[in-house]
Symmetry: C2
Subunit: 364 residues, 2 copies
């Protein structure tokens, strides 16, 4: 009988972080695509746009105006999904095991939302920034993390978890081209994060080790999914990746949060972010869209929350075959299980082989 061929035969892989499976159908990459075409980012974007709500000195959506900032700039989101001031929600429970008691679970959520303009330049994306300026972005994340932790303690603000992320490109719902990230701070740990903490905990009980610590060791042994590496971080296409060129930047040693970084680690992360996103742009010679974000310890974490936390970043980029053809995670993926059209190893291989020089910066 024939041998199982991972580059052609369908299989499912288990994601120990989310505790769920992914269907891999590598032969499917061959089917023709007649569906929606994405619009690649324009190649001529000015350094300053007078109509942009985020450029230095410009009017904001809600009135006010931005200072003439010269480096990374943070402000409160004008359309925050969560706010500090709202009435408390008393949790209803009749105590009589009614249908409502059984089925309706709800919590009030307070918090605060911030926008982080990476630089004053309207056209400068992460792959085009200097490493030292990316370090400044990371310093800004650290400062937010520390400030909000302090406000939680000293001013009793409802801040428990800080979700830092970036939506890049119109394909990922970004509504303003000026390169920026966001930071949403909530009084509850969001679902995805609390699921990871559950998995960390389960793994520690089973193996007396850290899930991501072991995973880093395994990837360094196998080396088939590593895209980039330096002293402090590994960039891998995780074994259980869902998006075609999904990656994870994971610290080699246990660091609970961005605020716990040494200067060396900060610099090493800036370097990995730059190198990875340059590869992404080079892959399809386009300003590569993605959503990315940090997973780390909750603010003021102690005990297991602090001990089990292991800093990492997820990059979820939608493009599959070219600057205009993306992967859709739709019918089967939403109702059945996520499905991908190439293996993690194939994706890692392609990314690994790409140049580290931003090839077409001049054309952008």
């Amino acid at each position: 009988s024939q041998e199982f061929d991972f580059t052609d035969n369908s299989h499912r892989r288990f994601n120990p972080l989310t505790d769920s499976w992914i269907l891999v159908s590598p032969h499917r990459a061959k089917r023709p695509w007649l569906g929606q075409q994405e619009t690649p980012a324009k190649s001529t974007i000015p350094e300053y746009d007078e109509k942009c709500f985020l450029c230095p000195g410009n009017k904001r959506v809600t009135g006010g105006s931005n200072p003439k900032y010269e480096s990374t700039y943070v402000f409160q989101n004008d359309f925050a999904a969560v706010k500090t001031d709202q009435p408390a929600l008393e949790v209803y429970n009749s105590g009589k095991d009614t249908l409502k008691d059984r089925l309706i679970k709800v919590q009030g959520v307070r918090g605060n939302c911030f926008v982080i303009c990476f630089s004053p330049k309207h056209n400068l994306t992460i792959p085009q920034m200097e490493i030292k300026d990316l370090s400044t972005v990371i310093s800004t994340w650290q400062q937010l993390y520390n400030d909000l932790s302090k406000q939680a303690v000293e001013e009793k603000k409802p801040f428990k978890y800080l979700q830092i992320f970036e939506n890049k490109g119109t394909a990922m719902g970004c509504s303003n081209l000026h390169p920026h990230g966001q930071a949403w701070c909530l009084e509850s740990v969001p679902s995805e994060v609390s699921q990871e903490f559950k998995s960390f905990d389960k793994y520690k009980h089973a193996h007396n080790a850290d899930l991501l610590g072991d995973y880093v060791k395994l990837e360094m042994e196998e080396r088939t999914r590593i895209v980039l590496e330096n002293d402090s971080f590994l960039v891998v296409v995780p074994y259980w990746a869902v998006w075609p060129f999904e990656t994870m930047i994971v610290s080699k040693t246990k660091v609970p949060s961005v605020a716990h970084f040494t200067d060396k680690q900060k610099n090493d992360l800036a370097s990995m972010m730059k190198q990875l996103t340059v590869k992404y742009d080079n892959l399809f010679e386009t300003s590569f869209p993605y959503s990315m974000g940090l997973h780390q310890a909750p603010l003021n974490a102690t005990g297991d929350e602090l001990n089990n936390a292991w800093f990492h970043m997820h990059f979820y980029p939608p493009l599959l075959r070219s600057a205009t053809v993306r992967k859709f995670l739709v019918g089967f993926e939403m109702l059945g299980e996520p499905q991908r059209d190439l293996t993690a190893e194939q994706a890692a291989d392609r990314l690994r082989k790409l140049d580290g020089v931003h090839h077409y910066t001049e054309n952008l």
Copy 2:
């Protein structure tokens, strides 16, 4: 102190089917949208398109050609994600608790994939079909379910779960406009479905009742999230809906699968599907995109799998504000938790009030 206002204040709601939380930020619907615009479906699509791979009599992508079919037509997917014939995958385990044993879990997945053309007409979507023709679509689902169940037993085919779904519209990754659904049959129960079965089981142990049975009763008491109703089915915007106008069609009594329907139930489902999708089209006066699918008992189910199964369909439509503005579930949603911009009750109210007549069929 002020009262908590569910139509304005942020809160999270628990989804007992997926065992996770959703963030609801109703005030956010007010923010301006400057991002990607969707392309609505063209309003002049011919009844027959000579270039379509799905129209009767036409050439298929891989050679062959379609019969001159006159009703619902099923064929095997030319680019199936899973296949019946592939080598078996021996599950690796050294038995020594190595890193690989701990972290790499993989299974081979065999199965079969089908395409179901709803009708010969290239431009006839579900809301525009006659109820009797929608009954024929449902009969086709029943026949597939029964045939594949039989093949699993009699021919020992690797068929365990049949996931029936439709991706409608280019925004939902549909690559061929000719109205069609799909059916993927796999040897494993997909993640989303097995999560629901876990939840059904847990609920039964806790309350000695069916989760969806109780939920139907609750919705019929509260009536704030019901969109449509007939003798056999309820259409609700679930309390924990993620997509702006997400709905669930749920049977009022326990029916394990589409194959267990009476003729009355088949007709009632056809009627709900028609009425719901007409409302969807009327909402933003466009051919409303969505992914939808059936959740039901595995093939040849017995024991808990049969006893806990409760037929329902999920509709996941992306549009938020108009024919061109969709909700993006991106950065915060992917890394933190799903977030929505209006409450389930607000969405249900809008859908409920819409006309049941397809207003603009003539313009399509």
